[in-house]
């Protein structure tokens, strides 16, 4: 088990790092046929920068477009609008050699290790395929050595695991194989789509620690997708919160979790089970009774701020105009009219104490 547990708070999101993969205005609307133009607005205008050696967490409730973002970045979907930039170059490849080259640099890990490994293939086959595709120069003994070192890297003993079928492995072991498969390409970017949500509680931390180790040792840029904001705090350098396909807040992990700015983030943080809260210090009745209801219908998302139907502070402005993601200092930005300059707009919602907190 890794001993990489890192008790010190991570450095503030280091914006100076090398941007490996970036998304600019990434938008995806899934056509659902039937009535003309009906589409699921899965993701709208996502800007994102993944830097070498950094973890960006994408947090949001189910259906908020997290996986869509990952799939767009992996180019499993084509964006409706916007572009993916690898080292500043727009990526266009969709198949063939160029796509393979892209795959080699950007690898994805899926949520469900039970489903992402083909049940009919051994670990050896799965990893060898990856090596053959991405490192065709390796042959025979070299490839075997590479295979073993991959398993070593994900802390699976090669002799024991190399000839196993997925069903002979536990969930954590499977997820490690999936990670090894991604590493076989020696990628610069790992897109990890909820890599631990399907795993048993006791082994989740192991996988996160492993990923963190890879980030630190190989300098890989990681996009970490989760709905568990506590794990994002634990693992990520930067957190970006998605709500109904739109980014509503971003900032370094610690401050976003400790001083959430957007009403939705606040709701999220407050909803997370936290035994320490037993002491019952800062829970105000207004908060918990305020945000209720269901996530919006993504075929006809609410106009204006998409959170407004559930937001206790919503005003008419929120119902009509989309707030942009704007900086509120200390590397943080939030898309909420509550933080807008009251001089420029009339009728802004008053977030009251919540706002004061962030500023603190």
């Amino acid at each position: 088990m890794t001993e990489l547990a890192d008790p010190a708070p991570p450095p503030h999101a280091d914006t100076s790092g090398d941007v490996v993969l970036a998304a600019a205005g990434l938008t995806k609307h899934f056509s659902v046929g039937g009535r003309r133009g009906a589409a699921v607005h899965a993701l709208d205008d996502l800007d994102l920068a993944l830097r070498a050696g950094q973890v960006v967490a994408l947090v949001g409730e189910s259906g908020s477009g997290k996986s869509t973002a990952a799939r767009l970045l992996a180019r499993l979907h084509l964006p409706t609008r916007g572009s993916v930039l690898l080292h500043g170059e727009p990526v266009t490849a969709r198949r063939g050699r160029a796509f393979r080259a892209y795959c080699r640099r950007v690898q994805m890990i899926f949520q469900d290790p039970f489903a992402s490994l083909n049940p009919v293939h051994t670990v050896r086959y799965t990893l060898t395929r990856s090596l053959r595709i991405h490192r065709p120069e390796l042959h025979g003994a070299e490839r075997e050595a590479a295979l073993r070192s991959l398993l070593d890297r994900v802390q699976l003993r090669p002799d024991r695991f190399v000839d196993k079928f997925p069903h002979e492995l536990s969930g954590g072991q499977r997820q490690r194989v999936a990670i090894a498969r991604a590493l076989a390409a020696e990628p610069e970017v790992l897109l990890a789509d909820e890599p631990i949500s399907m795993l048993d509680v006791s082994i989740r931390i192991g996988i996160l620690n492993l990923l963190r180790d890879l980030r630190d040792r190989l300098g890989i840029a990681i996009l970490y997708i989760t709905h568990d904001i506590a794990s994002a705090r634990y693992f990520a350098d930067e957190i970006r919160v998605l709500y109904a396909g739109r980014a509503v807040e971003s900032g370094d992990a610690e401050s976003v979790t400790q001083r959430p700015a957007h009403p939705y983030t606040q709701l999220l943080v407050r909803s997370a089970p936290d035994p320490d809260q037993l002491v019952g210090e800062r829970r105000t009745a207004t908060w918990s009774s305020g945000a209720r209801g269901e996530p919006p219908n993504m075929v006809r998302p609410p106009a204006g701020c998409r959170f407004h139907p559930r937001c206790p502070f919503a005003t008419d402005l929120c119902r009509t105009s989309v707030p942009a993601l704007t900086g509120i200092g200390a590397g943080r930005s939030v898309a909420c009219w509550g933080y807008a300059d009251p001089d420029e707009h009339a009728g802004l919602p008053d977030l009251g104490a919540a706002r004061q907190e962030v500023a603190a």
């Binding site: 659902v32 046929g33 039937g34 009535r35 009906a38 075929v299």
Partner: protein
């Protein structure tokens, strides 16, 4: 809505393709109806009448296949199916309308009975799996594998010839004029008993197995356990919760199997000398009677399509999930 359109398009396309296939198959095959007629009468037709028959059937002149195709569609739209060769000069539509009710009556009813009975038995043994009820399975496996013509012939030999409980053949007593009076209806029932029983016996096994497997699958669904946890009565849980869901795939299976059922009819009607379309088709094929063949294929294909459509509808009625708007 989109679903409806798609299904509609599918049905139209299938209908078109089937009709075209119907048109093509007999034409690209060798052989002609006159020769078939001669061989059918094996020496009873004077060989000198061959020319007379060619003249009679109007087979002297050759039209291009394309113009025949156009003509064929023209006929279809006019509701004409041409004149049968075997029953020259009776219009195909008349020949078919005479025998269709019998097939629908016998095979339709027997198939439905077999479906219902099989599904019901399947429900019971699926619900009671792991008990003695599983012993039914090998029996059904055997029944489903018995060729029905074989069973039918044995049934005739035993129950119509050796112990004449049932009539040997036909759809009703030849002394009766068809009409809705009790004696005739009784005669029809009497005549259909043996074939119907044979059809049911050989086809029920499939439905039992299908339903049983679905029941087993469905009974392990949570909602069945929930129903038990609610303390509902056994019957309600079994029928309202388990069987109600398990029957869904059976419905579409039933519609699709109609094609096979019709195929089965053919030999069945031959064996039992039943006056239905199946045997008619067999005759038409044997007699190279293109117009009749095409007519029957058309009717069968269209009715299978219609049955599928009905099954679609039934499915939508039975399964609210398919009614989803948006």
């Amino acid at each position: 809505m989109r679903f409806v359109l798609r299904r509609g398009a599918f049905y139209l396309l299938t209908a078109w393709a089937a009709i075209t296939l119907n048109f093509l198959i007999p034409r690209i095959m060798p052989g002609d109806p006159v020769q078939a007629l001669i061989s059918r009468y094996q020496g009873q037709i004077n060989s000198d009448s061959i020319q007379a028959l060619y003249v009679l059937f109007g087979l002297d002149h050759e039209a291009s296949i394309w113009s025949q195709y156009v003509e064929y569609w023209g006929q279809l739209f006019r509701g004409e199916l041409g004149l049968s060769f075997t029953f020259f000069p009776t219009p195909v539509s008349e020949v078919i309308s005479q025998s269709l009710p019998w097939t629908v009556g016998l095979v339709g009813v027997a198939s439905v009975v077999s479906f219902l009975l099989g599904s019901f038995i399947g429900v019971l043994i699926g619900w009671r799996r792991g008990t003695w009820a599983d012993g039914v399975l090998p029996v059904t496996a055997f029944l489903s594998a018995v060729p029905y013509f074989w069973l039918g012939l044995i049934a005739i030999a035993v129950f119509a010839v050796a112990w004449p409980i049932f009539p040997v053949s036909g759809g009703y007593d030849g002394g009766l004029t068809p009409g809705p009076y009790p004696e005739f209806v009784l005669s029809v029932l009497e005549h259909s008993a043996l074939p119907a029983i044979t059809i049911v016996l050989t086809s029920v096994a499939g439905w039992i197995l299908g339903m049983r497997n679905m029941m087993v699958t469905v009974t392990s669904e949570d909602y069945v356990t929930v129903a038990q946890a609610k303390g509902l009565s056994e019957g309600r849980v079994m029928l309202g919760y388990a069987a109600r869901n398990a029957v869904l795939p059976q419905v579409s299976g039933f519609a699709l199997s109609l094609g096979f059922i019709v195929s089965g009819t053919l030999v069945m009607e031959k064996v039992f000398s039943y006056p239905g379309v199946g045997y008619l088709l067999f005759q038409a094929v044997g007699g190279n009677d293109y117009p009749l063949m095409q007519g029957i294929f058309l009717i069968i294909t269209l009715s299978v399509l219609v049955a599928n459509m009905l099954a679609d509808v039934a499915y939508v009625v039975l399964d609210p999930r398919t009614r989803q708007e948006a």
